[in-house]
Structure formats: C-alpha cells, structure tokens
C-alpha cells in the first residue's frame, strides 16, 4: 500500500472516530479502538491491538472531567500507532510520538473551538429568535463537522504524508539506551493516569479498597476482570449495609419521637 493511500485512509479514520460525540460519548475514539483500524491499514491488526492497549493505559488519565480538556488522544493515538507500525518500532515509540502530537492538536482544537463555534452559536441564537428550531439544530451539526471532524482528519493525513519519510531516519538514529529508556517510561506511564484518577477518588477512609485490589493481583494473581467483580461485590455489600444503617437510625429516631409522645 502506497504512503498516499495510507495517509488518505488514516485521514478517513480520523474523520470517522469523532463520531464518538455523535454516538452517546461511546468512547470509540479511544486508542484501544482506533489502533485496531490503524493496524488494519498497515496490515497487522494484532500489532495494532497491542499498541492500542499500551496507548490506552498511558492515556488513562486523559479524560474530560468538568470543563478541563485533555490532550487530543484521537490524533495522538492514531498518528502514534501509525508511525510505530510503519517503522516496525514497538508500542513505546507509539507512546513517545502520541503525547506531543496530542498536546499539539489540543492547541489547534482549542483555537478552532474558540474562534469558529461562536460564529455558529451566534447564528443559532438568531434562529431561536425566529423560533426556527431546525436552524438551531443545523448549527449544532455544522459546528461538529467544521470544527471536530474536518480539521483533525486533514491534520492527521498531512502529518503522516509529510512526516513518514523522515520519521524512519529519525527513529533509526536514536541510540539503544534512549530506546530502552522510552520503553521503561512507557511501563511507568499508566501510573500517571492512575494517580490522576486517584486525585478524584481517594480519601483517607477508602484507601483500604485500593490495597485490596493491589493484593488481589500481586499475591493472588486474580485477572482484572475478577478484581472488578470482587470490587463490585464489596460495593454492593457496603451499599446494602449503608441503607440498613440508615433505616435503623431512622427507626431509632422515630421510636424516640414516639417515646416523647408517650
């Protein structure tokens, strides 16, 4: 497959996966999913899936919470996986390339969101004044296509087309210890994602649950699926207990009130 066709297909993929935000925030734009298709484009689905798994873990903290915007995992994930598959380098390189690309496109996306969407939003206000709800809906669709679909697809296509000839030379010039270092860093990277999540979840009285999960894996080698099930069971038991205590305390206070009446 020629590089032109590959660049086109990668652009097409990048055009389609933001449909994530058209399909109920279904997470189809996450690297674990997109890498399957990048693998398909480069004729090695298996390698694509493996790279996707590593990228996904590294980007575990890259989630939208509130209004804070994470790096653009779509362009970073797709281009990172594409360059790694093209050069035959491993997942560590996909990761190294993915982060700066994701950070770069976040800037582009922010600028476009800042400058272009308000134009459509203003038009939508105009349609609303005329009670034209179809017009309002059209502005929603136009914002999506012009800001979220087209620019990123163009960016990925061009970056791959012009970047890939030099990428091989650059990657081969990197000394062995740097390559090892990158892979060591790739192994540590999920820790950053988990730490970001812990900021949201961790309080002193719930630290023990983290320890339970850790021990289940480290000593008992329970697969993550099993750990998730055990975690859910613990949560259900706790919730039932919570509800019971609440009902009991309510009964006690009600009883107390009755005593006063007596």
């Amino acid at each position: 497959m020629g590089i032109g066709l590959q660049a086109f297909l990668l652009g097409l993929l990048t055009f389609l996966v933001p449909l994530d935000w058209w399909t109920g925030t279904s997470n189809i734009s996450r690297p674990i999913v997109t890498s399957v298709f990048v693998g398909l484009i480069f004729g090695d689905i298996r390698a694509g899936i493996i790279i996707g798994g590593v990228l996904e873990l590294a980007f575990v903290g890259a989630i939208t919470i509130g209004a804070a915007r994470p790096p653009d995992i779509i362009s970073g994930g797709i281009l990172g996986a594409a360059f790694a598959l093209m050069t035959g380098k491993g997942a560590g390189f996909a990761l190294t390339l993915a982060f700066p690309i994701a950070a770069l496109f976040l800037i582009v996306d922010n600028v476009l969101t800042l400058l272009v969407i308000p134009i459509f939003a203003k038009k939508a206000d105009g349609y609303a004044q005329k009670a034209d709800l179809k017009g309002v809906s059209r502005m929603h669709i136009l914002s999506f296509v012009t800001v979220k679909l087209l620019p990123r697809a163009l960016f990925v296509s061009l970056a791959f087309y012009f970047g890939s000839p030099i990428m091989k030379t650059i990657l081969n010039a990197i000394p062995q210890f740097v390559q090892d270092g990158i892979n060591i860093a790739a192994g540590i990277m999920p820790a950053l994602g988990f730490a970001i999540l812990l900021q949201m979840l961790l309080k002193k009285n719930v630290l023990v649950y983290l320890v339970i999960g850790f021990v289940l894996y480290s000593y008992l080698h329970v697969p993550i699926m099993g750990i998730a099930i055990i975690g859910t069971v613990i949560a259900v038991i706790l919730a039932a207990y919570d509800t019971k205590i609440e009902a009991m305390s309510k009964a006690i206070t009600d009883g107390g009130a009755n005593d006063d009446d007596f």
């Binding site: 997470n27 590593v54 996904e56 939003a121 900021q199 999960g213 699926m225 919730a239």
Partner: protein
C-alpha cells in the same frame, strides 16, 4: 410522503392547544442526546447539543404558539454542561415541564425550567464523572487492555461493551424516569442519601480496580544482581519476595503526591520520559 405531509393530512385534535409528550418523543430525545458533546464550546459548552436534543419536542409542543416557541428555543440555548450519560434524565424532567408550560395559559413560570436544569447539571456532572469516567471507564480499560496486551480483539470489544451497556441503559432509564418524575420528586432523591451511597459504592469499585491495575499494568523493574557464585540473585526477585510489585505501587503514590503538591501533568509526563532514559543509561532499571 414526508412526515410534515402526514402532519398536514392528519386532522387536528379537537382541543388543538393540547399537545402531550409521547414515548416516541422521549425516544427522539434519547437518540438526539447522543450528540450532546458534538459542538462543545467554551462559552455555553453543551448548549447547542441540548437544544438539538430538545428541538423536535419543542417544535411539537409549541406548534400553535410562536411566542412561546421562541422563548423555548432561546431557553434551550442557555449555558449547559453536565455528564453526558446523565443528561437524558435532565432532559426528561425538562420535557415534562415544557409540556406543562405548553398546555397552561401564561401563568406557568418558565424560570423554573432553567432553574431545574441549572440545579441538576452540576451535581449530576459530579456523580456522572465519578461513576462513568472514574469507575466504569477504568474497569473497561483494565479489562480491555489485559486482553489487548495479547493482541486479542476481545480487548477493544469488551472495552466498548463494558462502558456502553450501562451508558445506553442509564440514558434510556434517565429520559423515561425523568419525564415521569417531573420536577416534583427531586428533593426526595437528594435527601434520601441514595446519591451518597451510590457515589461511595462507585468509588469503592474504582479504587479496587485501580489497585489491581497498579500492580498489573505499571511496570518498574530493577536491573542488576547481588551475591556471588551460587548465591547470586537479581535485585528484582529480592524485592518481589518482600512485596510483589511494590515499586509499581510506590510510583503511583509518588506521582499522586506530586500531583497533590501542584506539579503539572505535562511536567510529570516529561519527567517520566527523562527519568526512563536516565535509568536506562545508568542501567538502574530494565525494560
């Protein structure tokens, strides 16, 4: 024959002011709520997405009243931002209020609709974020990547199923229950402690899974050996005999501590790369 033709052909109901919300209308909100984030922007965030979801219903309810329809359209374009899986619930409640407004003569206070939207989007965003992004996505990533590491296509498939089955189910329940509840029972839900219990339960599952993944997916391996001759052992196997994966957990807590100290994510990212390369250069860690 298009839908608008059908509408024209169907005789108007005897009481032409009375328009009700049907199950079909709610399903339309359900499907169109999928696009909530598509035109996200800094100023009013998900406002056009909200309007897009409500548009067909508002068109129907205010078919005969252009003034109210204009107000409803403008109301739907007010600032909106919440957790996407929970917004159909807010939309269902808003639908019941818009219905009431459409069928009452002018004495309905439409500020109530805005007030309910605003009152709900904040707390529900918090719950939805920790439930879906803090817990469910983490579980989906944990299970998905453990399959993907072997190149197994079940990885991405399970990832999508684990996240989206609850996602779509909650959206369906949200819009239907939201409409049934209307605005009246909200106080009860918030007071009953159900929300707090749910949040706590979600946190527990999330933490158990993150604990497991800290062991299984963070890899820190020390290079080098100690001892001589037959007594030679790798430093890594010594560490493992004390507490397996202890360095992985330590690194998670170290980064957590640095984040708490206010170190920026981008610096930590760069720091991890530099640390990895230095560690490889001096042969401290191995791949």
């Amino acid at each position: 024959m298009t839908t608008s033709d059908i509408e024209k052909a169907t005789p108007k109901p005897t009481n032409e002011e009375h328009e009700t919300v049907t199950h079909k209308d709610l399903m339309q909100i359900f499907w169109r709520s999928f696009t909530l984030e598509a035109s996200w922007n800094f100023e009013r965030q998900q406002h056009m997405g909200y309007a897009f979801a409500m548009a067909p219903l508002l068109n129907k309810l205010y078919k005969h009243d252009k003034k109210k329809k204009t107000e409803a359209a403008e109301r739907s374009l007010e600032f909106f931002n919440s957790s996407p899986p929970l917004t159909p619930f807010i939309m269902g409640i808003a639908a019941s209020m818009e219905e009431k407004n459409a069928n009452t003569d002018d004495d309905f206070d439409t500020h109530g609709i805005t007030a309910i939207k605003t009152a709900l989007m904040g707390p529900l965003a918090g719950i939805g974020d920790s439930l879906f992004w803090g817990t469910l996505l983490v579980i989906a990533i944990g299970i998905g990547t453990s399959f993907a590491a072997q190149g197994n296509i079940m990885g991405p498939i399970l990832f999508l199923l684990i996240f989206n089955i609850p996602n779509f189910l909650l959206r369906y329940l949200g819009v239907t229950k939201g409409y049934q509840i209307g605005a009246k029972l909200l106080g009860n839900i918030q007071n009953s402690g159900i929300m707090a219990t749910l949040m706590h339960a979600a946190t527990v599952v999330g933490l158990v899974v993150i604990g497991g993944m800290s062991g299984s997916m963070v890899s820190v391996k020390v290079a080098g050996q100690v001892g001589q001759g037959k007594a030679i052992t790798t430093i890594q196997s010594m560490l493992d005999s004390i507490l397996p994966n202890m360095l992985s957990l330590a690194v998670v807590f170290l980064i957590y501590w640095l984040l708490k100290k206010g170190v920026k994510t981008s610096y930590l990212l760069l720091g991890i790369f530099i640390f990895g390369i230095i560690a490889a250069f001096f042969g401290i860690l191995k791949v």
